[in-house]
């Protein structure tokens, strides 16, 4: 039998199944906590840090990723305080700077209120969100992909650097990768990186109603947990 508990997210009483994450509970109630590395039915690793929330406990607040935070009875969560918005904007900026060519990441960034990016563009094609690695390991049990190296050398690679025979070309890794979503029309060539501003309606919604799920296009393309439920 499912056990339910009650917690408070942004002032709203939320009933959630015991054992789920705060992020899942919030999404179910239409509270949009922006997220990138979270995929429904896969384990959460808190890689992108976008889903940070404030967790109040004993009069102190602690900032944690909501995807790795399990619901507890009587929890008090703030997902859209001034502090969180500021931190989240900064994280989104760093993600855009790392991989400016991704439509998905640009959209998430706009959703987080990013108007300009203050960091130098890295033009890498991976933000190490681990979606591909997790889908390959957990959903298919294939382990044809994985993280290799550590520190700044960490990257996703095939074992021994070549695609193994046991990779069945299922394409799940490509499907989930934030880089493979059709990019914006706005140019993102080296040296000309900027937010193209096509998502300004998103930005307006973000400013007016920062905590509501807007059923954004991003979610549809990017398999937001809400769309796949």
């Amino acid at each position: 039998m499912k056990q339910y508990i009650t917690l408070t997210i942004d002032g709203a009483q939320v009933r959630a199944v015991k054992g789920t994450s705060v992020l899942d509970a919030a999404i179910e109630y239409g509270i949009c906590i922006p997220h990138l590395c979270h995929v429904p039915n896969l384990s959460d690793i808190g890689a992108c840090r976008l889903c940070i929330v404030e967790h109040f406990k004993d009069g102190r607040s602690k900032v944690t990723t909501s995807c790795t935070l399990n619901v507890q009875e009587g929890m008090v969560i703030l997902s859209n305080s001034e502090k969180i918005r500021k931190l989240r904007r900064n994280i989104a900026e760093l993600l855009v700077a790392q991989a400016p060519n991704s439509r998905a990441i640009q959209d998430v960034a706009v959703r987080c209120g990013v108007k300009e990016v203050r960091y130098p563009f890295k033009n890498s094609d991976c933000v190490l969100c681990g979606r591909c690695v997790r889908v390959c390991t957990e959903m298919w049990g294939a382990r044809a992909l994985g993280f290799v190296g550590r520190g700044k050398e960490r990257h996703v690679d095939f074992p021994l650097g070549v695609r193994e025979e046991f990779c069945k070309h299922c394409g799940s890794c490509n499907m989930l990768c934030p880089m493979t979503i059709t990019p914006c029309k706005g140019p993102m060539k080296t040296g000309e990186e900027y937010l193209c501003g096509k998502c300004e309606s998103q930005l307006m919604i973000t400013e007016n109603r920062p905590d509501s799920c807007v059923w954004c296009e991003l979610g549809k393309n990017f398999q937001c947990a809400r769309y796949t439920q």
Binding site: R143, A144, G146, V148, G149, R150, D157, P159, L160, E164
Partner: protein, 160 residues
């Protein structure tokens, strides 16, 4: 360098995934590096996915994926060694052998590596040659060390 074969390394440890790092360490010790075939064989015999073996071999600095030279010269670049001139030693040995850190000379004799700290700061700068610690090194002493290694290896070749 011992010459245990892969068979003997794996003996008694098959189907024990928790033995992975120990097995890789033994492979590293007997081959001087972790060859691709060994990784495949270890993966099959221990029941660990190849990805995991590769990831671990890549993660730890102990494991080298490229063949290493007969003489591995490790130079400590820790803080204490650095202030006492470890970078001079590194420049010296790299210049003399014409290498970059981590590379091996073409004749397979020398590999030069840098390490962040050996924990022997009082003895710094420290240079390790195949496990032998040489303390209070100076560029001059290092030059002599390399010359003596060279002459011994020449003798070995002459004897063989």
């Amino acid at each position: 360098m011992s010459t245990a074969t892969l068979e003997s390394i794996l003996e008694g440890r098959r189907s024990q995934p928790q033995q992975l790092i120990e097995v890789l360490q033994d492979v590293q010790e007997s081959y001087g590096y972790v060859p691709e075939d060994a990784m495949r064989s270890v993966s099959k015999n221990l029941g660990v996915p190849l990805m995991e073996v590769y990831r671990i071999a890549n993660f730890y600095k102990t494991f080298s994926l490229k063949p290493r030279g007969k003489n591995v010269i490790t130079i400590c670049m820790g803080t204490a060694c650095h202030v006492r001139g470890a970078h001079l030693l590194l420049d010296q040995v790299l210049g003399q052998l014409g290498l970059v850190p981590g590379a091996t000379t073409e004749d397979g004799q020398f590999t030069v590596e840098r390490v962040n700290c050996l924990g022997a700061c009082a003895l710094g700068p420290v240079v390790v040659h195949n496990g032998d610690y040489h303390h209070h090194m100076t560029p001059n002493k290092l030059r002599k060390l390399i010359a003596s290694i060279r002459s011994t290896s020449m003798e070995e070749i002459a004897h063989a």
